[in-house]
Amino acid sequence: MDLFLNQILAGIATGAIYACMALAVVMIYQAIDHLNFAQGEMAMFSTFVAWQLMQWGVPYWGAFVLTLAFSFAGGVIIERVLFKPLGNAPVLTHVAGFIALFAIINSVAGLTWDFTIKQFPSPFGSSPFLGSQLISTHQAGMIGVTIVLLILLFLFFQYTRIGLAMRAAASQPESARLVGINTSWMIALGWGMAAAIGSIAGMLIAPVVFLEPNMMGGVLIYGFAAAVLGGLSSPFGAVVGGFLVGVFENLAGTYIPGVGNELKLPIALALIVTVLVVKPTGLFGRTIVKRV
């Protein structure tokens, strides 16, 4: 029983990371209707920036905030330089752009910081959480940060004018321009926010998987699975999907014979395919009510 509980809680903790990645993926998908394959690499690069800052003696939370700011600016710049010119180009052009971005970021990180594994500190430590053997303080911290982030995002989109403008620009760009919203900047803002959210995921997962240029590969695939499961049109769904995928991954690895650690990744892929076949809108993606 303890093993079962332990696996569920650990699943929720890693699920928190998938939730962050899924959230970042959904934000960009909402803005430009494409999946950003480089989301994981962007997060990895941000995490290296945080690591570098700490190497230079910046305390953890200082580095955390600076990294958020750096990632936000980086996301905006990537959109302005690379994806704004692509505009309404066909899907394949965008895919090529994402793959180029993936390769560039990965190589630049490798070139700058090399490919050896680095330790990344956790601000929460790794002692048992509240004296319980089930979950560590870092895992509890991952869950806590994700939930706080989700609440902040909800408040931002629901109660601020700029949040309302971003939603309008994503759902009906032409109408949004007709009420005077600069939709192009709203997309850039979406990229900035997605990059910042991704950097949080990177900094939280790095103490677990260790820091190196390829650390986000698996995480991003789970993030995609979470986004698809929750519904690509729903940020809330992305988060729920993240937690579900995390738990599912752990339980499958523990209880299904022969799955173990090595076959966990195909499980995520199987999940993506199953959802797309059975319920393409995902669990929470809404079918828009429309009367004409």
Binding site: L164, R167, A168, S171, E174, G180, I181, V289, K290, R291
Partner: protein
């Protein structure tokens, strides 16, 4: 008297296809003008060209300022509200959020709140449904919402693209009454594009007739309504 909106030699293109061939017209401040024409004559294109939503050449001046090269959102900020064909409702958002979005260019939050109340007084049905998802409103209600949303900008000029489309005749009458009232009481200059020529000519004080991308007739609404050709082609008697 100089015109509020002055359009000269306007040509518009969809890719290689030219849709407007040197359109010329003007709107005077406080007027209610209608642009009549058959399907495909270029009515919608004309409105889209004013808001720079289609590639065009020529000159469009709003209050003496050339606006051809401005972006859609900065043209809107000058006080030009465009109610597009299909109403442009933000279907996934609530009625109240739609009204908030209409005031996106304004900073005066208190006045925005009181304007929303004013819209609810204009259109009581919107108040009843203010928390409802806008996509679930009926066609007529959505058109009311679209007009209200445009008014939230506190526009100087309002462009309406076939507001009567798909609405029951009684609702169209109501809507046109409201437009007349907005024009008189709020001093909003209005350009309305219509296929329902009869109603539009009753409402408007000035009219233009457009055929295959050119203005072929202009004058006072009553003159146009009595014109033999217009009666045959657009009014059907």
């Amino acid at each position: 008297m100089t015109a509020m909106l002055n359009v000269r030699d306007l040509r518009a293109y969809y890719g290689q296809v030219q849709a407007l061939h040197g359109l010329e017209f003007e709107l005077h401040e406080g007027s209610l003008t209608t642009l009549l024409g058959a399907n495909g004559a270029g009515k919608t294109t004309t409105l889209r060209a004013i808001c720079n939503m289609v590639r065009s050449t020529g000159s469009i001046q709003f209050e003496g300022k050339t606006i051809n090269k401005s972006s859609t959102e900065s043209i809107v900020k000058l006080g030009i509200a465009h109610v597009p064909q299909g109403r442009g409702t933000f279907t996934t958002m609530t009625v109240e959020e739609n009204l908030q979005l209409g005031a996106m260019t304004r900073k005066d939050t208190k006045a925005i709140a009181s304007d929303i109340e004013r819209m609810y007084a204009h259109f009581p049905v919107l108040k009843q449904r203010h928390t409802q998802q806008a996509g679930t409103l009926s066609g007529g209600e959505q058109q009311m919402l679209a007009v209200a949303r445009a008014l939230m900008l506190r526009p100087r000029l309002m462009l309406l693209d076939e507001p009567s489309f798909g609405l029951a005749p009684l609702i169209v009458r109501d809507l046109f009454k409201i437009l007349g009232k907005i024009n008189r009481e709020d001093k909003v200059t209005i350009l309305v594009v219509e296929q329902n020529a009869q109603l539009a000519l009753e409402l408007a004080d000035k009219a233009y007739v457009i055929e295959t991308g050119r203005i072929v007739m202009s004058g006072n609404a009553t003159e146009i309504a009595n014109n033999e050709d217009v009666r045959k082609s657009y009014l059907g008697y």
